[in-house]
Symmetry: C2
Subunit: 413 residues, 2 copies
């Protein structure tokens, strides 16, 4: 009789589950991972006022799933987005061509859900968002990586990859790109390359999946037109987020696509709506404050980036190579070839420094091997300096680089 | 050259997608579907105060994913839940054995995610939550339905089903049950049957998946101990929600399970956290107001149920059969055999009345054929009366029943 023996779930688990999560022990002291933002710049007062105002006026709609707006999401927020996207990204769309999602991660899941099946192929930037790569792995989809040069994806390499796939009878399901403040490289795809990408996409009959979730965070405020706006043959699905421009913990993203595509996504969005309170607060806050809040961020963030680059120069000297991004919240650095950032991760964390190892952010593990992504928005200037100094120490101990007095080394070079 | 022809997505869609969604045209005038609640009972003032207080005190944590609480969700809310579940359901658990989810629907997805693979079998109440059934269909999992009698699932039928499956070499992945205010029948499983179900589950080595999302809404406030609390061999996963007790549009649910199981679910929860603002507001509201708010609901809801049952008696007479539920927000009615509620749906909706056809809420389509679920929490008393009168008219026109003067018919019977 087994009635009193504890039930063992291990023989009941689905096959191919990811490894179990470790218990969370708080954020690292020097936290250079995750898309966290600068707590000092959070527009707290206007958010509180927005919560007050919108709940007082229409809080009773919380009694119905989807408020009074239906499954596409809170209508005033979609109306704000339609206006903002036209103003800043050149996208002309109706509020009913916008689906509010629980963060842009649900947007990724829904786009993948309607397009991808096991065995499919997609084309993607060689270094790209880890969450996009892990999703493709879980779905059994092959990701063909395209290398960048200068300001974004190389169009000759894209053409060659599409041509090669076509010869092999493979029609990729989409070209996934973060064209504006690319994650993790921070590049902004030039207008000429945008045109070239659209031409290639049309020529090969491949949609473009445009992830524009960092595009509000450009230092000079000059956001290029979205691929969605530039396309003359449709074929672009656009996603974005408020996580980077307002607050990460508010899980509000969106998809812009023609209604027939949204109509295929909605039945996969089986969550009875995204969080209403967050949508209502943003719908109230954004029309009044979004345009004045974003410049606050784009003044504070480059100062932190400057601190990070200075600290890297000081502590790593020529051992850390990077380009100076024009926006965003992260820096993509190259360490000397002998450094394996996946092996650096654990001792760095033990010393209080969390970094994103490059191999996890790349279709080409060798390319990513000695690279890392450092997010600079959340730690204070002091934490950035102390964290980089600690990282340099750990790296030196584990891999022998940087040399002890990096800035002197650099001056000699 | 195809560059100017619009890209046709139809050849790119994944196979086996659900049919596209129709455009949303607002709620039906007489809305008896969806788990909407009574807008008049929404605790708006304390929710607004909670939003104010919690944002003023710790709003700056919105700058980090997961606030300062990690991936299990806002810790003060988990602490409230640990206390509440012990007090009301006898569950003793640590806040780290609670995972906050984006509504109980994400909880369903996560539990299914770690346990189910295509071809699996689960055991489930014959009439049950539609969202559970559609998820199993999408996953390619067979649902074996167990009929109820009196207060919940029949234990002889459960024993026979488990025995039959075992003979055929099938070990079901779980027994899914809504034991407390069953959806849609409204029954409350007796203590004796709870004990019997736990014995059978242990005997056959099958976990119980306990969906307790209506359990706060019992008229007399006497919630029986949860199966999770009663089990002595573990093997129960418990989920719940604030959608029914506070507000549906706040998408906050939870899973109670031992940490080793939550550790398998967390890597599947790839949403970078559930909505923080909703968790924070509930975490602030609940310790102060949950226990006084729920009785407000459990006084208002039975009055609406009473109106619904009166209206059904008046308009349908003996043509509508139902038991008087002891809690919840819905009534499960049986119409005469000639009524097919799936065929009643469209003309009823055209007349302004939305109902849930029973076949969509049952593993046995024949059993559900002449049944329907009517939700009574959201419409006003006037709308309930007018909606039922309209429904009776449409039903009479389409199926010849109820007879014109139902209450007179009934008096004669």
């Amino acid at each position: 009789m087994t009635a009193s023996a504890p039930l063992d779930f291990s023989s009941l688990l689905a096959p191919d589950l990811p490894p179990p999560a470790a218990k969370w022990n708080g954020f690292a002291k020097y936290n250079f991972i995750g898309g966290h933002n600068d707590a000092d710049q959070l527009p707290l007062e206007p958010l509180i006022k927005a919560a007050n105002d919108v709940l007082t006026r229409e809080g009773c709609t919380l009694a119905t799933y989807g408020l009074a707006s239906g499954p596409l999401g809170y209508r005033p927020l979609r109306e704000f987005l339609a206006g903002k996207l036209e103003r800043t990204a050149g996208i002309r769309c109706d509020p009913d061509e916008i689906l509010i999602t629980s963060g842009s991660l649900q947007a990724l899941d829904l786009v993948n859900g309607i397009l991808l099946a096991r065995g499919d192929t997609v084309v993607i930037e060689r270094a790209t968002y880890q969450g996009a790569l892990t999703r493709l792995q879980r779905l059994g989809v092959q990701a063909v990586g395209i290398p960048p040069a200068g300001n974004g994806m190389r169009m000759d390499a894209l053409a060659a990859a599409l041509d090669d796939l076509k010869r092999r009878g493979v029609r990729p399901k989409y070209i996934y790109t973060v064209p504006t403040v690319q994650n993790p490289t921070g590049t902004i795809l030039s207008d000429a390359r945008r045109q070239a990408m659209l031409r290639l996409a049309a020529q090969y009959g491949v949609p473009i999946f445009e992830d524009d979730c960092y595009s509000d965070l450009i230092w000079d405020g000059k956001r290029p037109p979205a691929l969605y706006a530039m396309s003359r043959h449709g074929g672009v699905i656009h996603i974005g987020s408020f996580s980077k421009s307002v607050a990460p913990a508010l899980r509000v993203g969106y998809i812009v696509a023609p209604w027939p595509l949204l109509a295929r996504m909605l039945p996969l969005k089986t969550d009875a709506g995204s969080g209403a309170l967050e949508q209502m607060v943003l719908g109230e806050f954004c029309p009044r404050h979004f345009d004045t809040h974003v410049p606050v961020l784009t003044r504070a963030l480059p100062a932190k980036l400057e601190t990070l680059m200075e600290a890297l120069n000081e502590q790593f000297g020529t051992a850390a190579e990077f380009d100076d991004p024009k926006g965003g919240i992260f820096l993509w650095i190259k360490l000397p070839d002998q450094v394996d950032t996946q092996k650096l991760f654990a001792p760095a964390l033990a010393a209080g420094v969390a970094i994103n190892p490059g191999a996890e952010w790349s279709t080409d593990k060798d390319h990513g091997r000695s690279r890392a992504r450092l997010c600079f928005a959340n730690p204070s200037h002091e934490a950035i300096r102390a964290g980089v100094a600690t990282l340099a120490e750990v790296c030196r101990r584990e891999f022998g680089v940087p040399a002890r007095i990096a800035n002197v080394e650099r001056a000699r070079a």
